[in-house]
């Protein structure tokens, strides 16, 4: 099994997910099996191979600068867990 080079606590912080210790431990074990596969990629010589981010060879897909009707505010806010007046409301931000 591969060494798992992942600092799961740090990654979970970046991903903003509060993981339990048992979740972290389980992921760590599972990742080590997956990294057996991933390690195979490291053996390939891809130095001169271009990266494929998109499989479709199209460019310059843009729209004209025209205004479309916005959502009615009631619809914009309807799914919000918490609102105050016309605003979305969230807990305070500590900088």
């Amino acid at each position: 099994m591969s060494e798992v080079p992942i600092d799961i606590a740090h990654i979970a912080k970046l991903a903003r997910i509060a993981l339990t210790e048992s979740e972290s431990a389980a992921f760590s074990a599972q990742f080590s099996r997956l990294f057996d596969f991933i390690a195979e990629l490291q053996a390939l010589d891809v130095e001169h191979v271009p990266a494929t981010a998109q499989v479709i060879p199209i460019f310059n897909v843009m729209r004209d600068d025209t205004i479309r009707e916005s959502l009615d505010r009631a619809f914009a806010l309807r799914n919000a867990p918490d609102v105050e007046g016309p605003y979305f409301k969230v807990p305070r931000i500590l900088e």
């Binding site: 970046l14 479709i56 897909v61 004209d64 600068d65 205004i67 969230v90």
Partner: protein, 493 residues
């Protein structure tokens, strides 16, 4: 020893300024004045009722997808051309990933390694060139409103996403700026260029132009760079200048106290006039850029780029040089008159109408400005047309009204914006040019001011002007002053 808190590092203002030099780079965010947002059709407009310029796309709702606003790309490229940048033939968007509640998708669509333009320069009035690193296109965030006191002490936060997704270009300079004055001059020049080409409102107070400063200092003559801090939260050109000045002094004080500078983000506190550390243990940033898979790359063809370049108007620097050369006006006056394109256009139109650029300049910088201030208007807000002001100047020049009367007409003109002749007629402000009528007033004035007459005859030259003044007063400012002087000279010998 580490120095980060302002109270431990009081800025001493009596330090010698010769030992260190500042190295400053500015990151300027400019909202583009497109009709719609960067990636959706919502209105791009300052203000508006909260959360009314929003849709599934700019709210980052599940399943929504962005589509590039072609006009924003055009505007950025035009800015690039105006600033001498190289526009990239191939470019793409990337995602910048970090969580923040005013950012609906918790990533910002931006550009990482293939910005739309690279290079370029901003030339300061001093002649110094500040090099640009790049200009890239991205989307703005929404606005957080912090409730219950200060930002850090607030109970909760309210969010308005009207601004989320507004097209934003980030103009990154090289660290070529050496002082707070240069920083302000750089911003003024940038603002002038962008307002000339019409791609942004560039209103710092409305947030359509925002600026962060990367500041470091190093021993005079050294080529190594010192540790830099990033200073944020400035809301005017002047506060950028103040913040940069303060930060330079703070860093100098730290170094001279034998401490070292911490690389960090610092906020500018306008009220207290100092920068403070915004470091937070929470913020371990790793933006994890990767190509935006919901958009396809851009490959702008040469013909389109050439057409955009051809649409550029005369730029501020060229215009200033031309006006100075063409009309022989002082550089300072020209700089003031042409700071923004509508003002420059107005000036040129007035000069053309009245045939006298010098007079046009004097009026705009003198009486017109005073009248606008009194009426609490800007030139753009005033209904006055260049033709009307030009006509007024011609009337003065021809002696049809006196300078004093013209000031009164000007006060009305900036508010009403109608034919100056009708204002003159309505108020009976036509100059009195009838020699007999003026002679009567002159004679009365001589009789009433015998003391001054004697003084003048005794060699006091000033007394002559006093008597002229009395005549003008008597005529309610309407007497043609040349005639007054001629008649008075004849009588006093």
């Amino acid at each position: 020893m580490v120095c980060f808190a302002e109270d431990r590092c009081r800025v001493k203002t009596d330090l010698k300024t010769s030992e260190y030099e500042a190295v400053i780079g500015l990151e300027v965010h400019v909202e583009l004045s497109t009709a719609s947002k960067m990636f959706c059709g919502c209105r791009n407009e300052f203000g508006g009722e909260p959360n009314t310029h929003v849709c599934p796309i700019c709210l980052g709702m599940p399943g929504s997808l962005p589509v590039i606003n072609a006009k924003a790309v055009e505007y950025l490229c035009k800015a690039g051309f105006a600033l001498g940048c190289a526009v990239a033939p191939h470019s793409k968007f990337d995602r910048k990933n970090y969580f923040y509640p005013d950012m609906p998708k918790n990533y910002q669509i931006s550009q990482y390694d293939m910005p739309l333009t690279t290079g370029g320069t901003v030339t300061l009035p001093s002649g110094k060139s500040v090099r640009l690193n790049r200009i890239h296109l991205e989307e703005d965030t929404g606005k957080n409103l912090h409730h219950g006191g200060s930002m850090t002490g607030s109970e909760y936060t309210l969010i308005d996403y009207n601004r989320a997704g507004v097209p934003l270009m980030e103009i990154v300079s090289e660290p070529d700026i050496a002082s707070s004055e240069e920083a302000e001059a750089y911003l003024a020049e940038l603002k002038a260029v962008l307002s000339y080409i019409g791609v942004s409102d560039v209103k710092m107070h409305e947030g359509s132009l925002r600026c962060d400063a990367n500041v470091s200092i190093r021993p005079q003559g050294s080529s190594a760079l010192g540790t830099k801090t990033e200073v944020k939260n400035m809301n005017s050109f002047r506060s950028v200048g103040r913040a940069v000045k303060h930060e330079i002094e703070r860093q100098r004080a730290c170094l001279e106290a034998g401490e070292r500078i911490v690389q960090e983000t610092r906020g500018w506190d306008e009220g207290r006039g100092l920068t403070y550390s915004m470091r937070s243990k929470e913020q371990a940033h790793d933006y994890r850029y990767f190509p935006e898979p919901d958009l396809v790359p851009m490959a702008l063809d040469a013909a389109t780029l050439a057409a955009w370049r051809a649409q550029l108007p005369e730029l501020p620097d060229a215009k200033r040089k031309r006006i100075v050369a063409e009309f022989g006006l002082p550089e300072y006056d020209v700089a003031v008159l042409t700071a923004e394109r509508p003002d420059a256009d107005f000036f040129e139109a007035v000069a053309a109408q009245c045939g006298d650029a010098k007079l046009a300049a004097n009026w705009l910088m003198g009486d017109v400005r005073r009248a606008l201030q009194a009426a609490e208007l800007t030139l753009a807000q005033s209904p006055m047309t260049p033709a009307q002001l030009g006509d007024l100047i011609i009337m003065v020049k021809r002696g049809a009204i006196t300078g004093k009367a013209a000031k009164e007409v000007c006060d009305v003109l900036v508010v009403d914006g109608r034919d100056p002749r009708s204002i003159v007629d309505e108020r009976g402000l036509s100059a009195v040019t009838d020699r007999n009528a003026i002679a009567d007033i002159v004679d009365k004035a001589i009789a009433a001011n015998q003391k001054s007459v004697d003084a003048y005859r005794g060699g006091k030259v000033n007394a002559f002007d006093f008597i002229v003044g009395q005549v003008m007063k008597e005529s309610r400012g309407k007497a043609n002053v040349e005639i007054v002087r001629t008649l008075l000279k004849e009588r006093l010998g």
